[in-house]
Symmetry: C2
Subunit: 359 residues, 2 copies
DNA sequence: CTGAAAGCGCTAACAT
DNA sequence: ATGTTAGCGCTTTCAG
């Protein structure tokens, strides 16, 4: 039906201007909706544009204005429902203000993140939302921040970086939930995280993620408040793919003095841990208790339903996007961002410890 | 530490050229890695670029080359793990070839989709992957296709659109699984889908989604092959949010001649249906059987584990991206795309029908 | 191999 | 209100 199926050059403002018998500048003003244009001219231009099915070249537009109306989002893994939800919050919010989102996955690789940030900057995104893979190697973020380009950190903070950060008060909820586990008689509390680390976790290990280190701090504090020793041997990092998680879980549950409860750092890990527990023929919470970060619909469908630490993930995505948009639009930060609170939701997966350990 | 923390203009090829004492053209060639450049010049330019920490402006580059190295992906809902996984397949594949992805959510709204496509085109993406909300209202896609811009359809076909389509052979698996249900004695088979529709489903209803209509066709065929009448009253569309799905589920299970099995169209719906069944105090498969499309890790953790129709979602994302990249690079389609096959995985959620209906 | 100059499609002064 | 003239930062002729 359309008249121009041949591979012709795109129609430009110049074409429209000619068709409408006005100068290029006037056509551009009418089309771009800026400057002063008489009704007469506007009508003719718009009609001509319609007729020629003119479409603006946003790239050209961006080059002049310096605004791309695009934001970059860099996360570890979109497949992880945690990020899926957060991303939804971001895109929903961005769209409302007319912004698009370029999404980049890093697989939690530091190098990939550095690359991603660079590329997005080269593409002249108006701002960046990053869930940093590392809280220590942050020069790339530091330089973004210093360059003045809008930047919001999601989920985890970066050491010494003053960039606006949207995250939950992790240390608090971690403390609270650990106390709950201790009160239930658990002493052998295992914690499994995807966080990459060169060596096995030890007492002195400095963890390279604000999120994880806060969680561990919360646990330390809970133990020490009760005068108990923290079981460093039960903290397991590098829980990458499903296989490694299952292997870790088996180790934890079969060691001489096994874990009586395992805490999964996110939904993806939880799934593998639960699979492993199932394969081992153990039942929850009789044989082993279970606690996980994030609350997804499926956690209510298992038998028993799972006790979880719910985080306002979608809302955090929304907040991150709003913060970024605010920065982009040059409005100042509204004081300190309200910290988001996580909630411990008691369902059935945490029971009394099977055998009470010492003290 | 960095020397230029003041908000200065970006450094351009011109700056680098000056610093390296060569023409702008030569600097550009060295930087852009094209044309002929002597080793000497290249070195000087690269050194100068490094020194000034020059970064190319990809927008400017795109304007000249007509290539943005960005593809647009338009889906109904990223939060839906089905699309989350597919998106992962797409981004992984795109990244390998140096392409970025702009992701747009449509909430399955036709209008939002039309908009999204337009905007992505305006941003001069090199190609588009779309999971069309409707298989009938497809002018916007038709015109993309006719304009010659690379386009790949994901998951669902669009009527009369010759664009390359990556989808599973749905009619086949639907037939197969319906036969299985019928063989288990079920006659009252309910099917719940998010698909938007103006009126309740009836025998004559023309469904506006290739994916869903194929599923229904498969079911029709299975029933008619056995000489049985298809229960049109058990097909429920417009299953939007969790609440409406739960309401629908309750209706289906409490009607005079209730459904003995419910088939959920995707993982998000499944979650709500299962929640409703749980709330009703019914057990699977004794009181009601259950079958769902897509296989996620959590489907193995329920009691009983769920019988599912597994689809190679990630692989389809990969295939869609590859097909698009091929088109972008001007290579011809490699004949007809191999149809992806779904598999019925028997686990515990489909049992014999509680009460055998007529015939 | 190198450089000067002409665009890409648009917006932004600057006149009128 | 309208038109003219410059650019934005890069690639691409086209001559040397």
């Amino acid at each position: 039906m359309s008249s121009n199926n041949s591979r012709r050059r795109d129609v430009t403002v110049a074409d429209v201007a000619k068709a409408a018998n006005v100068s290029k500048a006037q056509a551009a003003r009418a089309l771009g909706n800026y400057g002063a244009v008489s009704d007469d001219v506007r009508e003719r231009v718009l009609a001509a544009a319609e007729e020629l099915s003119y479409r603006p070249n946003e790239l050209a537009r961006s080059m002049n204005t310096g605004k791309s109306h695009t934001i970059g989002v860099v996360v570890g893994d979109i497949e992880n429902p945690h990020f899926g939800l957060a991303t939804r919050g971001i895109t929903d919010t961005a769209k409302k203000s007319g912004y698009n989102v370029i999404l980049v996955n890093t697989d939690e690789e530091q190098a990939a993140e550095v690359d991603a940030v660079q590329i997005l900057l080269d593409k002249r995104v108006d701002g960046l939302i990053v869930a940093p893979a590392s809280s220590t190697e942050t020069e790339h973020l530091q330089s973004v921040y210093e360059s003045g380009r809008p930047l919001v950190l999601l989920d985890r903070a970066a050491n010494g970086l003053a960039a606006e950060t949207v995250a939950v008060n992790t240390a608090g909820i971690s403390y609270e939930s650990t106390v709950h586990l201790l009160d239930s008689g658990h002493r052998r509390i295992a914690f499994i995280s995807t966080l990459k680390s060169d060596s096995p976790f030890k007492a002195e290990t400095q963890v390279d993620s604000s999120q994880i280190s806060e969680r561990l701090d919360g646990m330390f504090r809970a133990f020490s408040d009760k005068g108990l020793a923290f079981p460093h041997d039960l903290v397991r990092l590098n829980a990458g793919d499903a296989d490694s998680i299952q292997k870790i879980t088996r180790e934890l549950l079969r060691m001489p003095d096994p874990a009586t409860v395992v805490v999964a750092s996110d939904g993806l890990i939880a799934l593998s841990v639960l699979g492993a527990i199932q394969d081992l023929g153990l039942s929850i919470p009789e044989d082993v208790s279970f606690l996980m970060y994030d609350d997804f619909a499926w956690t209510r469908l298992t038998t028993p339903p799972l006790t979880v630490i719910a985080q306002p993930v979608y809302e955090m995505g929304v907040a991150a996007a709003n913060a970024l948009l605010r920065q982009i639009q040059g409005r100042k930060a509204s004081g300190t961002a309200p910290a988001f609170e996580a909630r411990l939701i008691h369902r059935g997966s945490v029971g009394p410890a099977k055998v009470l350990s010492n003290s």
